[in-house]
Amino acid sequence: MLETLMLSRIQFAANISFHILFPSISIALCWFLFYFKVRYNRSGDEVWMRAYRFWVKVFALTFALGVVSGITMSFQFGTNWPGYMETVGNIAGPLLGYEVLTAFFLEATFLGIMLFGINKVSNRVHTLATFLVAFGTSMSAFWIIALNSWMQTPTGFEMRQVGDAMKAFPLDWWAIIFNPSMPYRLAHMLVASGLTAAFLIAGISAYRILKDDHKPAPRLALKNATIAAALLIPLQIFLGDMHGLNTLHHQPAKIAAMEAVWHTEKNVPLVLFAIPDKETKSNKYSVEIPNMASIILTHTSDGELKGLNEYPNAHPPVAPLFYGFRIMVGMGMLMLLVSWVGCWQIYRRNELSPLMLKVFVGMTFSGWIATLAGWYVTEIGRQPWLVTGVLKTVDAVTSTPASNVGTSLAIYLSLYVVLLIAYIRTLFVMARKAVLVDRPEQIDTLQEKLVEENL
């Protein structure tokens, strides 16, 4: 039984981690595309359309990976976590249902028009299609974050006895959807997507310039993405802080684990780095700033923070939260530095130095690292609960034999490794192909070649 639980948890983590990589790009990338399209409509300058054409291909690939990895998710609940829907299905079901109804069909249908329909519909309808796809991806984020946040901070429901089991019943849908942590988590995730997409655009564009691409489109994309990143990152730090305070209020055990506060105390130092040891319940080799954690979290230097000792056997594991949080924040600081230096260079010289171009290439997937680390903190931080105070993870797992779960996990993992390598390689192949293209209308996808042959 324990093996099934561990394997199911690893499988869920693998599926959701692989899945989130793609929406975290596509949610914001589509708004970038909409922006390119609007600028083109306003100015009539072909360069915006060239940027659109390159990035819409990346979007199509990313979106496809997001869709197929997302289908897995809709089966996961039944295959591995039957207790989840049996207990909170009355809440989770409608939220998932609204995601399918208001988001999935919208994105999928208008994506077809966005990708293939540019000569079949008017420019206005094509712009509208781009907008609707962007709107759909954001709606999708809205519903799924509403559900995730409800699992973190459930409100608006009551538990009733049905047969021999306790089940959640909805009382107030408004309170369920806009539960206490939802606005913070949604804003934090949308901005995270903005940063992920911005660094992806900047990184691939910088790569093209380094490969001697002399066209204006990658420069334009790089400039816009750098400015977007420089504007979004301070906003993200502010939102992250608000989200942290919200978590302190509603899930104090999570904060205690993130900051490795083992015992309730005042004047808590901010631990910059340490190796938390769960045996001795203390931190080794810690580098600290005195009173700083109290100041950040309570806004007074002698503010008291609840330690893990207050939650015996019911707090999340410390190490993944402690490290995950530091990786996310560290990545955020790096993003701040890189995007601001980049902006400064663009402001002074209207271009980036070769060194900064290389740095941007190195930062191409920095958004992924920060997003994954952040999600690990918040999701592992909910343990041992699946739905805080309502359902424990261990009580929701399937009774399927561990061998079945092991088989499916092996299949998924091998697929994901292959697809991730293929995805990253293909992005750079597309960038190199784009460098070789001289005319903007040059044939550079097989579908276009096919069209040419048939004309």
Binding site: R53, K57, A60, L61, A64, L65, V67, V68, I71, T72, S74, F75, F77, G78, T79, P82, M85, G89, N90, G93, P94, L96, G97, Y98, V100, L101, T102, F104, F105, L106, A108, T109, F110, L111, G112, L115, F116, G117, I118, K120, K167, F169, P170, T398, S399, T400, S408, L415, L419, A422, R425, T426, V429, M430, T445, L446, Q447, E448, L450, V451
Partner: protein
């Protein structure tokens, strides 16, 4: 089984509405993703140009088509959570195989056009293999469902038969789609494919129709129980007529001026509909055969009500813009331009 007379208003009709919606979603899925899975299975080894045209013919649609599966399984999850758990518990491995297949084909579709040229053939194979895996797994699951998830050799043999039959059905509708969306050699080839697949599918349907009442007393009674049900025999009769029409048409297809290029597709869709009605009639009101009826499996009425408002507003909108998308891309597929 639930005693219907004990149920009051909403508690009675909400599950009925939702089982209808779920059936509708799965039916639309079978038609729409059916043809694009079928096209994937049919990809020929000997002609890259034909493969390109075939994939271009499903390009703008496959993504939305697959969403109907998410809606169908979503309604099962939302409206009948107990059944969702029970069904997926029994189908753990086939579901995994199907998902692996769907993942593979979904991404192969995009990678084939963007990866280095020499990888294209590999992605085409992945596209074909993924489509085949998905359809076989779906048919296998349908077979196990019909047999009430019995873990016997006979049940698995029946499921294997059903896997072949469903795959033949999808390839039939896929080939019929190609007859509608292509021209020239490929269209001729599609007609040949469609005819063979239609025969195989007809054999499968006959086999399932014979086995089904034999293994289940309830189903036997439903179809042979009272003299009134003679009306129901219109279903298999009509099915036979449709197969006959399709076969006669396909024998000489394609015709000058593309006469009736929609006939095979329309026949295939109608056959799907009739098979669907037959299955639904056989099992209603059970959502897990002989174990769980729709009222036992249903969510709380307040949850179903909340989602029903959304469905009433959104579903017609979805159908509307789906129709719009198909109208934008009507006509032969060769002129598709991809940005």
């Amino acid at each position: 089984m639930t005693d219907i007379s004990t149920l009051s208003g909403e508690a009675f009709w909400l599950p009925v509405i939702f089982i209808g919606l779920m059936g509708l979603a799965f039916f639309i899925y079978a038609i729409l993703d059916g043809y694009d899975l079928g096209v994937g299975i049919l990809l020929p080894k000997d002609s890259e140009a034909q493969r390109d045209t075939m994939i271009a013919s499903i390009g703008p649609f496959w993504d939305a088509n697959e969403t109907w599966l998410v809606l169908g399984i979503g309604i099962l999850l939302i409206a009948f959570p107990l059944a969702h758990s029970m069904i997926l518990f029994n189908l753990y491995l086939p579901v995994t195989v199907m998902l692996a297949g769907l993942i593979l084909r979904g991404v192969a579709f995009d990678f084939r056009a963007k990866a280095p040229e020499d990888h294209k053939e590999l992605w085409d194979r992945a596209f074909q293999a993924g489509s085949l895996l998905a359809t076989l797994a779906q048919g296998y699951m349908l077979g196990l469902f019909v047999m009430g998830f019995a873990d016997t050799l006979a049940a698995h043999l029946f499921a294997a038969l059903s896997a072949i039959c469903v795959t033949a059905g999808y390839t039939f509708i896929g080939a019929a789609w190609l007859i509608m969306k292509t021209e020239g050699d490929l269209q001729k080839r599609a007609a040949w494919w469609a005819r063979r697949c239609a025969w195989l599918m007809a054999l499968g349907i006959i086999a399932v129709s014979i086995v089904n009442p034999l293994v289940s007393g309830t189903i036997f009674d439903k179809w042979f129980g009272s003299p009134l049900v003679i009306v129901l025999w219109i279903i298999p009769l009509f099915c036979f007529v449709l197969f006959f029409i399709a076969d006669r048409y396909l024998r000489r297809a394609p015709y000058p001026n593309d006469f009736g290029c929609w006939i095979p597709f329309a026949s295939a869709a109608m056959i799907f509909l009739l098979s669907f009605i037959g299955l639904a009639y056989s099992f209603y009101p059970f959502v897990v055969p002989n174990k769980l009826d729709i009222w036992q499996a249903a969510s709380a009425p307040e949850s179903l009500m909340f989602i029903l408002y959304g469905v009433i507003v959104v579903l017609p909108t979805i159908l509307g813009y789906t129709f719009f998308a198909y109208r934008v891309f009507h006509g032969k597929a060769t002129q598709l331009k991809y940005y």
